[in-house]
């Protein structure tokens, strides 16, 4: 018996849905086995990481707060990925977006009220978008691979952050800690009363549907898909590849910048050296686990947020490091990429060959 990959006539919709779910389940199973082997209670760890945050209702708001930036960033990245544009620098755009928002905050001091919040969020969107035009320009002008340039710009962004919070924007009353002054309460994002759930969560719930309409129904969404599937056909259809690269990178940068501004104005209210949280990188996993589909990103963002919160819970319950969640996230990405092939191909089992014919010409 042997196995053979056979191309499907049409991509399987069932597999499109099944493979991400299977990836999560496989991750849990492998997690249990591996953790047991290294002497940690695997079952307990997996339950804590994947289920406890869902079962404990007091953790839901944590999950929502973590999911919001992941979903927003992943939405932008999935647009780029559809056009075969690989923005790996969302973390940097996220940081720059937050810094631009902080710059507005610093500029206005404690005056301005809610108007300043709007301005900060806008500044975040613009800042993240502008940061992403650098790899876009390098790619279209000099054919520089955007994977490298956007990733490298992340480290530039981190340096900018540490310069600003350690220097010009350092809180004068902050006991010399490298951090900006906390936002005035009038300048923070509104929260659902009695909770920490801010307006950004609502935005993260609405945006996937906006993106879905744009990608599935608009001419721009069509353009992105054509450029990603077949650049020559796109040119034949009258779509410009360069402007598509620019547009998708700017959109993904702007979304990351928006997420950064929301995190700053909605959760942290100040920026310190610990601000970069890896959301920009984790969102890459979200985009793939969500099958580059906006609604998929919403679901996948929630799943990944669960593992973040669960990772923190497992830290105290089974005494494993917080970064364990990262291992699970990486495993999910691994399985989703590996099972991707099942969407376009099917596995066929070929029974063992019949008894050899009279003369078999084999090499």
């Amino acid at each position: 018996m042997r196995l053979k990959l056979e191309k499907r006539r049409e991509p399987s919709l069932a597999m499109l849905v099944i493979t991400p779910i299977a990836s999560v389940i496989l991750t849990m199973v492998i997690g249990i086995v591996v953790f047991d082997l290294i002497g940690i209670k695997g079952f307990k760890a997996v339950v804590d990481i994947f289920l406890s945050p869902i079962l404990a209702s007091y953790k839901w708001q944590d999950v929502a707060l973590k999911a919001a930036p992941l979903v927003i960033i992943a939405l932008g990245l999935s647009v780029g990925n559809r056009a075969q544009v690989w923005n790996i620098g969302a973390e940097g755009q996220y940081v720059i977006g937050a810094l631009c928002a902080a710059g507005v905050g610093v500029g206005f001091g404690t005056t301005g009220g809610f108007f300043v919040v709007l301005l900060m969020v806008l500044a975040g969107i613009v800042g993240g978008g502008v940061w992403a035009t650098v790899p876009a320009w390098l790619r279209t002008r000099f054919n520089v691979n955007e994977i490298l340039s956007s990733l490298m710009l992340t480290y530039v962004a981190l340096q900018v952050l540490s310069y600003l919070v350690g220097g010009p924007w350092k809180d004068p009353n902050g006991r010399n800690f490298p951090a900006t002054a906390p936002l005035d309460p009038s300048q923070t994002l509104p929260v659902w009363h009695g909770s920490t759930v801010h307006l950004g969560v609502l935005i993260a719930l609405i945006l996937p549907f906006v993106f879905w309409v744009v990608m599935a129904r608009s001419e721009f969404g069509y353009q992105v898909r054509v450029v990603g599937s077949s650049p020559t056909a796109a040119r034949h259809g009258g779509f410009d590849g360069r402007s598509t690269i620019f547009a998708t990178l700017i959109i993904s940068g702007a979304m990351a910048g928006l997420a950064g501004a929301l995190e700053f104005t909605g959760v942290l209210h100040k920026i310190d050296l610990g601000f970069p949280s890896g959301y920009g990188f984790t969102a890459i996993i979200v985009a793939f686990l969500g099958r580059l589909n906006p609604i998929g990103c919403l679901i996948a963002g929630t799943v990944l947020a669960v593992t973040y919160v669960g990772g923190q819970m497992a830290q105290t319950s089974v005494h494993i490091p917080n970064s364990t969640a990262g291992i699970f996230q990486a495993m999910m990405l691994f399985f989703i990429l590996a099972s991707d092939i099942l969407v376009r191909y099917r596995i066929r089992v070929i029974p063992s060959a019949k008894p050899a014919p009279i003369a078999k010409a084999e090499v």
Partner: protein, 523 residues
């Protein structure tokens, strides 16, 4: 032609070969035999099961039933490597070449035995010299034309000294002179005892070349006949299982006002091995079909891109449509002016392979047919239009939702031609409209072009198939090295002059050359 004694064992004998795919019976108990040194034609429409059959001979697939005998021995051809070891070579219609590698590297990859590059190169040069196949071994494949790529495949097959050579549509990209040269090669091979299984739609070629023809229709063997006795028409009718329609032209056709004018159009070469366009001028009037002949790689692609607007020109006046200067316009704006185009490559240029036919309708018809409103696409309009095209051009597809890549080449070509023609363009530029398309489909594409011209459109047909141009066009010019010859009326055109122009001898020189040849012949 050597005619081996009837007692001789067949080189290849197929009996009762059957192959099923989910929902399709691709081959239904097909059997025939090929003698040593015989040139055997395999005829049939797209989907008749020719490809499946040769794939089983070449070991890519295994038959579900039936047996293959090779030199009298019953065997299974496990894979193409085994086939090559037996001495079966194949030249595919769709080439399997690595674009980023050189000719030499591609051939080396296809060789089962490792041969040092230096030896291989000399062997390649020897084969090329022996059979007159021109190729530069160190060029990168991505810069080569279709015709040149095919030559790589032919050389690759010949290097194996095959006993049976399978050729799938080999002449579709060659000049008449090159076809003759190829036939010399094939006859020479046959005389040396190599059998040839020759798949083609060009019936007069089969008549000229082949000893036997096996005709398939719908997976079944229809007839095995002697092409020298049959007429092209009788074979075509056996192939399609009905009577063949001639191109119907309206009586008393005259040309209308000038629609397309190209004036001193020049384009820089695209890449180091691309062809630059030099000083191209011609005009096409309403109802006129203007043909551009030429060997692959002489600037045809560049010309199509320059006319469609995929490569705009710096000179606005270089191309005018209905006296509007469109030279600097991009493809989309030119479409708004009524220019439609069909490039040579269907999958990946004219259509997106992984998109449905409906989504592919949006690619070029969205503006002219109002499929986009306020930035949003109307999927129903796209589906309806795709359905109309499928219906009007008898495209064999499961419906507007079928993936473009799931269609056979001929059916996708019908769909793409239909997509452009039903938009009623003012000017239609098509490249290789019937490449790899069977006789039935080709006839319907030709008829559609003639009908479109009759409604007053100007049509430019770029083709390497001279017969097609001669039967279809009113006016003809030849492109060579990026230059276009003086246009001539098809009714007054001489085949040898066109052939020489295709080979690179221009205008009056060509006439002089012909006379010189004639004198030499008399002398």
């Amino acid at each position: 032609m050597p005619d081996p004694a009837p007692a001789a064992v067949a080189r290849l004998e197929l009996t009762g070969i059957t192959k099923r795919f989910p929902g399709v019976l691709a081959n239904d108990h097909v059997g025939f035999s090929v003698r040593p040194g015989e040139i055997h034609a395999l005829l049939g429409e797209n989907g008749a099961g020719k490809s499946t059959l040769v794939k089983m001979i070449y070991g890519i697939m295994q038959p579900d039933e039936g047996e293959i005998r090779w030199n009298g021995r019953r065997l299974t051809v496990a894979n193409p490597k085994a086939a090559r070891k037996l001495g079966i070579g194949m030249v595919f219609q769709h080439f399997s070449l690595f674009e980023a590698m050189t000719v030499l590297e591609n051939i080396a990859l296809g060789m089962d035995a490792k041969i040092p590059a230096r030896d291989l190169e000399s062997r390649i040069l020897a084969v090329m010299g022996q059979y007159g196949l021109k190729l530069e071994p160190h060029r990168i494949v991505s810069t080569l034309s279709v015709g040149e790529r095919q030559r790589i495949e032919i050389v690759r097959a010949l290097l194996l000294n095959p006993q049976l050579l399978i050729m799938d549509e080999p002449t579709s990209v060659l000049t008449p002179q090159e076809v003759d040269q190829l036939f010399v090669v094939l006859r020479k091979l046959a005389a040396e005892g190599c059998s040839i299984l020759y798949i083609s739609h060009k019936l007069h070629e089969i008549k000229a070349l082949c000893d036997t023809a096996t005709i398939l229709r719908g997976g079944k063997l229809v007839d095995t006949c002697d092409p020298k006795v049959e007429t092209s028409r009788s074979m075509a009718e056996k192939m399609i299982g009905g009577s063949l329609k001639d191109i119907q032209r309206g009586a008393g056709r005259g040309f209308g006002p000038e629609k397309l004018r190209v004036t001193r159009l020049s384009m820089a070469a695209d890449g180091p091995f691309g062809t630059a366009l030099k000083d191209i001028s011609f005009t096409v009037r309403a109802s006129e079909i203007f043909g551009i002949a030429g060997v692959a790689g002489n600037g045809q692609n560049a010309l199509l891109l320059a006319l469609s607007g995929e490569e705009p020109n710096h000179d606005p006046g270089s191309v005018t449509v209905n006296a509007v200067e469109v030279g600097q316009m991009q493809a989309r704006d030119r479409r708004a002016q009524g220019v439609a185009s069909v490039p040579e490559e269907r999958n990946g240029h004219a259509a997106v392979p992984v998109f449905s036919l409906a989504d592919n309708a949006i690619l070029t018809a969205r503006d002219r047919l109002g499929m986009v409103r306020a930035g949003l696409i109307d999927p129903r309009a796209a589906r309806t239009y795709a359905g109309e095209v499928i219906e009007a051009f008898s495209v064999k597809a499961t419906g507007p939702g079928a993936m473009a890549e799931s269609l056979s080449g001929g059916n996708l070509q019908k769909y793409i031609m239909g997509r452009e023609i039903l938009q009623k363009p003012q000017v239609l530029v098509v490249s290789q409209p019937t490449w790899g398309v069977d006789a039935g489909a080709a006839a319907s594409i030709h008829q559609a072009l003639v009908d479109l011209a009759a409604t007053g459109s100007a049509i430019v047909v770029i083709s390497q198939d001279l017969d097609e141009l001669l039967s279809l066009c009113d006016t003809l010019a030849v492109i060579n090295g990026g230059r276009l010859s003086r246009p001539m009326k098809v009714s007054e055109a001489k085949i040898d002059e066109i052939g020489l122009l295709m080979g690179g001898i221009h205008g009056e020189t060509a006439a002089a050359e012909i006379e010189k040849v004639a004198h030499a012949a008399q002398a």
